[in-house]
Chain length 338, copies 2
Amino acid sequence: MVTIKQIADLCGVSRGTVDRVLNNRGNVKAEKRELVLQMAKKLKYKPNPAGKALAARKINPVAAVVLPSAGIVFFDDLIRAMENAAKKYEDYGMHTQWHIMKGYDVDEQCRILEELRPQVNAVIINPINDSRVAEKLNDLIRDGIFVVTINNDIEQVHQHYYVGSDYVNGGRTMGALLKMTGPSEAHIGIILGSLKMLGHLHRLQGFKQAIAGIPSYSIVQVIEDNDDNIAAFSKTRDMLAAHPEINVLINLSSGGSYGSCRAALDAADRTFLILVFDTIPTTRNLMKKGVIQAAVYQHPRQQGQKAMLLVFDYLVNGIIPDREQYIMNNEIRIRENI
Amino acid sequence: MVTIKQIADLCGVSRGTVDRVLNNRGNVKAEKRELVLQMAKKLKYKPNPAGKALAARKINPVAAVVLPSAGIVFFDDLIRAMENAAKKYEDYGMHTQWHIMKGYDVDEQCRILEELRPQVNAVIINPINDSRVAEKLNDLIRDGIFVVTINNDIEQVHQHYYVGSDYVNGGRTMGALLKMTGPSEAHIGIILGSLKMLGHLHRLQGFKQAIAGIPSYSIVQVIEDNDDNIAAFSKTRDMLAAHPEINVLINLSSGGSYGSCRAALDAADRTFLILVFDTIPTTRNLMKKGVIQAAVYQHPRQQGQKAMLLVFDYLVNGIIPDREQYIMNNEIRIRENI
DNA sequence: TTGAAAGCGATACCAT
DNA sequence: ATGGTATCGCTTTCAA
């Protein structure tokens, strides 16, 4: 392994000079600069992350996590994974701030971002898809803050990284699952959080793609539950009453899964094929009981881990991510492999 | 964050002494030892991994990877993941030796282990389940070598760690998948590598458990292909000829998947539900074409990564794994979420 | 513009 | 048994 010291010796300069060149700190004569760069390239110099991390102790890097999703159970796993990672990275001197708010309030999210701005070096955010949030994020990025969006991306934000799932593919996978397991004739009721949420909309599109062209399948109704179990319960009940032909229920977001399953169970004389997203505890329970047949799983823990790792690697080890998007697979989970 | 230096100052001893205490190197008077331990506990001392990693450079840690599986395609992904990890850890000064041999030769594996013994600090091995190999591994462990078994565990080996999948659960998942997607009447032909391979046997047991008690399901025949496509092809062909009622083919190991699918395709007048393990390239291809309906995926890349991480964390950061077994989920993959 | 030196945290080694 | 010192690779700071 090549070290800065070796390069310095070979070039006949000091370690300080090599450091200045390799980190573009300026104040180096052009020819020396060239010489060092050549040598580094020739020897395939790669900085030792342990050395970097140790030296980084002096600057005390800070990361902030911003999630507008307190109370949405899906995020519990994701948050837990991030907390574990944060604890680990604390040993390396990186601190993490938590800003978990409840509800998708644009003003609130902007306010938090503004407040963070002078205090942190990186932000992991589940952004509300709104232009004002995008603007604020662009401000942060201009200030040199490293931004990672998680679980949902946002448009119109320049240089940032995304960790999450492919929503269209998730919907498509769900559709394929229906084709594989479902009745030959399907009258489908769909429940999702909100059509205003990009991810949910994309899942719906993917699902429709997957079942397009099957004449014996029809989507009877699409209802929104705002990821709320009570709303999901009453709206599903109404839908089932109005449409006695429905024999398949698809939940495209996990917030209301439990509520709509309860409504399905209340229709005691009917049976349904029920497919949902995410394996939150209530869902696992209903899978064990045979109420829900399958779930599409979007690796929440991996998402949390990866986002934290990107931030850590950047702040502490100076490693730039090798991709702009890290997409987790949509897995199929049934009772046996949950 | 608390450092060794701080503890040393507070206890009125030198850093060397603190180091000796915290790492059980002996040669410390009992009372000083107690004092240091108390103080470390009180201040919640946790070693800084960056410091450890840097200091570890001096001992030049070496890991060896021993796989008797050259030519088995499933291991390609696993090996690639390990190579990537190895490259990354090389930056920290950990070296990796590769011993990829072909075929399950006990003598050969023992010979390699003996040869490694004086050169390495850790071994990642896909062990042949034989008592002589177990003995050799126990020898290494006695010498203080850190041992991780990967993808297959071995019995009678004392202090070691396992990274792999739950084979019984894999078989059970496969069985559930059949129940979900298959015809109401199933005449099942099973192909697997070898009944002498513990993993394959366990999968078979799991599968049988899952479909037990379904009168309309029957296992017609179980054949062994030794993970060889040619053997799989001819044996499957013979089986299909002898049993015209077979309408489901289950491949419990990926080595011969392609061969047996080819045999199924040759029986042009019949159609089969085909389920396999692992998404190796030939399998993905056949899934796209609709020949194979689903595969159970055992996260080969994660397995490789995790095994390398355990070794790195132990050798370089002095971290002891928090579990003895790291079990990957058995995922269900279909054309849409492959 | 450059070099020399100190320091980040942990460890190995040599004296004592 | 214990302390002191040098070292791992990198960054920062101070002096020239």
